[in-house]
């Protein structure tokens, strides 16, 4: 299973675009990428979930872990997501109250 991970910079904000299915098999790659970005000093990260087809609790856990790590550096991890089926997973678990969720990458980096 492929997990696409593409990093772009937007005026000091790092956008990580994720593509494919985030599950117990692929989530470790997402975690590694986040750890790598933080260790490179990227403390403002936007994770773009628009091209994600599937996200499970392992993926949620990695995002929560990333947010925690960035907060400890006074940074932030926010999300881009408008897909109903992905948003639903955040809603059920109450994580819409934990993450800032944007409608687009433009909105996320404009902030």
């Amino acid at each position: 299973m492929e997990l696409g991970l593409e990093v772009t910079e937007h005026d000091g904000i790092t956008v990580l675009a994720v593509r494919g299915e985030v599950d117990v098999y692929t989530a470790p790659r997402l975690r590694e990428k986040l750890v790598e970005l933080v260790s490179q000093g990227k403390h403002n990260i936007v994770v773009d979930l628009e091209a994600v087809d599937f996200l499970d609790s392992t993926g949620l856990g990695v995002l929560v872990g990333g947010l925690k790590r960035l907060r400890s550096h006074d940074g932030d991890l926010s999300l881009v997501c408008t897909q109903h089926r992905i948003l639903k997973v955040f809603e059920i678990t109450g994580l819409t109250k934990v993450f800032t969720i944007h409608e687009s990458v433009d909105a996320a980096v404009a902030k």
């Binding site: 299973m1 098999y25 609790s57 929560v64 925690k68 907060r71 678990t93």
Partner: protein, 153 residues
Amino acid sequence: MSGADQGPVIELEIPARAEYVGLARLVVSSLATARRALADERIDDLKLAVSEACTNAIEAHAGAERQERVTVRWSEGDDRLLVQIDDRGPGFDPGQLPEHPPVTDPERLNFERGLGIPLIRTLVDEVDFNPSDSGTSVRLTMFCGPADDELSS
């Protein structure tokens, strides 16, 4: 259990390894789509619940032999779809899982795990956890309309 197990039964046995959870999702969503009695959103719900249960089954096998397998069993009743996930892990008590702090509590960020079972409970219409010494059996039920004529004939 009325209405269950009268229809076709499909079984998938996978190695207890993370890379095969996607196959379980693929099979279940293909079967649910073919049944044509479940809305797309409910198919997504079932797919996620099956994925969570398979993930737990595989994690319960961690350290077990490589050839140990997880079974996903699909069956259909007149008014329901049933997916049963069986593992050979140590079992657990689903009534004794730790509670998460409320989302407004900063402590919430210390909980990267424990989201799977709450998700399963919300996504499917019924869930039964049957742990035993020889493993855990999780039964997920989705109520739905009768099977498409063409398929049930």
